[in-house]
Structure formats: structure tokens, C-alpha cells
């Protein structure tokens, strides 16, 4: 199984209680805004701590509250691509890309920076500051940064939502290639039915 998740987390008056297990490929977490999809990604990434439950990715246990296991985010090796790119504003594109790559153990890396740069077509952006990038350019760099950290799986939180129609198509193609060529498991959050149908191998409805 790529993702085996059973988490409970109280957030204000609202409680997340979800269990799912999905195989390889791209899994769409589909649901309306405010249904807690992003919180589920944050729980898996380790940015939120579940009240109870377990999380396994690719057979590796990240959280098991019964055994007191709760790996910190930096030990989970999951790539997280955010809605807004969230690049480091004080580092040029090149330094953003290699941030996680430099921190990764050599045996954890499975992509070299030159490979990622060619894969994403971002050679011409390397010396730019994030502030000067368009939404689509920033999202490519963010995807490259996540891949270069050597992740076991990718978490993507509505990565197309801040893009216009043309840019959306470009990034969709990139995501399809990650799914089909790099064959890395992806958990993909969206509220857009067309996007979900086009990209998903597996579907999970969150309500």
C-alpha cells in the first residue's frame, strides 16, 4: 500500500476522523473547501499531530499513537507541494531547488538537480528571485524543490488553484509525467471534478 492512514484530530468544533488505504499511482482526495483535506495532508506531512491513529507510507510507519511513534516532518521524507508554491523569498530559484537536496542523505536522493531542472524546463529561472516568478513558474520550482529532497511520496495541495488556464495545463502535464515516468505515489487534494478525473488513479471523497 502506498498510503495507509487512520487519523483522528479535533480541530475546534470540527473533528477529522478518516481511515483509508490506497495503492500506487495518484490518489485524489476530493471534497469541498473546508472539509479538512489540507489538514489530512498536514497530518501526513507531520505539520499537524494527530490525537490518535497511525500513518504508513510505502510500508514505513510514520505515526503509530499506540506505540508512541510520531516522526518529525524532517524524518518523513515526503515532498509537499503547496497551493501557493511557498518558495523561500530570500533565496534564488537555484537555492530553493537545492534546499532539501543538500539536506538529504546521498542514498535518499533519487534525482540530481540537473535532471530535475531539465524535467521541469526551468533552466532560465535559476538566477531569479521567487518574487519575480509567475504563478506557474513558481509552482514548477516548488515541485522541483520537493522532488529533489528525495521523497518517498508527494503530497500536493491544490497545486493548480492559483494558476490561469494555460499555466494549469502546463503543470497538469508535469504532474502526469511525475505520476507516469517517476512512478512516485501522489496524494492530491482538489475540489475540481475535471482535474480529479483527469489525474486520479484512485479516488477518495472527503465530506
Amino acid at each position: 500500500m502506498s498510503f495507509e492512514v487512520h487519523v483522528r484530530k479535533a480541530l475546534g468544533q470540527f473533528t477529522i476522523d478518516r481511515a483509508f488505504a490506497v495503492g500506487p499511482g495518484l490518489t485524489v482526495l476530493f471534497g469541498a473547501s473546508g472539509s479538512g483535506k489540507t489538514s489530512i495532508l498536514n497530518l501526513i506531512a507531520g505539520l499537524l499531530r494527530p490525537d490518535s491513529g497511525h500513518i504508513r507510507v510505502g510500508g514505513v510507519t510514520l505515526v503509530d499513537s499506540a506505540k508512541g511513534v510520531n516522526l518529525p516532518p524532517d524524518k518523513r521524507h515526503l515532498g509537499y507541494v503547496f497551493q501557493d508554491g511557498r518558495l523561500f523569498p530570500h533565496r534564488r530559484v537555484r537555492a530553493n531547488l537545492t534546499y532539501g537536496w543538500r539536506l538529504a542523505q546521498p542514498d535518499q536522493r533519487w534525482m540530481a538537480p540537473e535532471q530535475a531542472i531539465a524535467f521541469l524546463g526551468i533552466e532560465h529561472l535559476l538566477d531569479r528571485w521567487p518574487m519575480s516568478l509567475s504563478g506557474g513558474e513558481a509552482q514548477r520550482v516548488a515541485i522541483g524543490r520537493a522532488l529533489l529532497a528525495g521523497p518517498r511520496a508527494l503530497l500536493m495541495d491544490e497545486p493548480l488553484s492559483s494558476l490561469d488556464e494555460v499555466r494549469r495545463e502546463e503543470i497538469i502535464i508535469v504532474i502526469e509525467r511525475i505520476r507516469d515516468e517517476l512512478k512516485i505515489p501522489i496524494l492530491y487534494v482538489t475540489h475540481d471534478r475535471a482535474e480529479a478525473d483527469r489525474l486520479g488513479n484512485n479516488f477518495l471523497e472527503i465530506s
Binding site: A45, L47, D74, G79, F82, R86, F88, Y99
Partner: protein
Amino acid sequence: MLTAEEWGIVGLSLKVSIVAVVLTLPIAFALAYLLARGRFPGKALVDGLIHLPLVVPPVVTGWLLLLAFGRNGPIGMFLEQWFGVTVIFRWTGAAIASAVMALPLMVRAVRLSIEAVDRRLEGVARTLGAGAWRAFASVTLPLSLPGIIAALVLGFARAIGEFGATITFVSNIPGETRTLPLAIYGALQVPGSDREVVRLAIVSVALSLLAIVASEWISRRSAGSRPGHVL
């Protein structure tokens, strides 16, 4: 030009101010971080205490320092017994007075810049493999650099102009605690020393101006092509 004695006053002022600001910076940063990011009971009280030197008459601050650091004061007794050190009537005492007066301004400057840093960026760094400390050092610290530079400048300007708390705490001793403002005040009391007053006043203004220009230059260099303003 300045006389040898006046150069000595300028040198002492620089020493007192630089020591005060450099030693206060880590404390100011820690307090600013606590106030910007921390959630704890009594936060408003801590905030208020830090800001006291900004609103209390400096002479009262000086008197309180005298009580704390005096021979019979809690800190003074401790320093005397354990290190054989006394700061009363010493340049180190002048530096402490300047540091206390500069602290609120420095905490404010750093706090504003820490609050302006997007906290989620540290989360990004964590998912990319950075431990908590590295995420802080590689994201929050550099992004709050403009505030740190602003704190150094404001603190230095405040320290080099410090008068009331200093004269109350460590008196006006030539060569030891007679900094620029104290020397100007002293010269004003002596008839016929107008020229000395003018010279020292010009030096005071020039030093403060220099600090601000230098900080703008540093921040522009460190910001690269990104826009950045310190003050």
C-alpha cells in the same frame, strides 16, 4: 579639530554604545522571538516590563539600576562576591544603563520583523528535511535580518545619546563614564566653553547619521535585488 581629551570622550562613547548594543542584541532577539511566537501566561506583563524604560523617566531607571547594582543591591552583591566586580562609576555601568534604555527599541524592531515572517515557511523547511533548529536558522533568522539591523541602529543611536539613566547610575567621571552627552552637559555648565559644545554636538549628530547611512547600505547589500528598508 577635537582635542585629545575630546577624542577620548568620543572613543569612550563608542565603546560604551557598541558594547551595550552588541551584548543586548541576543537578549533582545530572544525576547522578541518569545513575544512574537510564544503563548504563555503573563506575556502582557513581560511586554510591559520590557517597555518600561521607554516611558519611565530615565532618572528613575538610573536610580533603579543603582538599587539593583549598588553594593547592597541583589545583582551588585552577587557580582562583587562571585567575580569581585563592581559596575558603579565604571564604563561597564554606563554600558548597562545604555543597554537597558536601548532594549525596548531593539525588541520592538526585531519583533516586528519576526512577526512579518510567514510561519508556514518554517513548515516547508521541515518537510524538506530541516530539523527545527535548522529551519529557524535558515528561514526565520535571515528573513528577520532587516529587523536585526534596524535594532542595531536604533539601539546604537539610543545608547550614544543616553544621558539621564547614565548620569544617575554611574555619575559623570572623566575618562570612565563621561560620554558625549554628559560631556556636552558638563561643558554647558562652564562659561566660555561654547566651542567645545559645538564640536561635541557636531560629532554626536555625525555619529548618529553615520549609523543610519551604514545600516541602509548593509541592508541594501544583504537584500540583493530584493527591496528592503530598515527604518
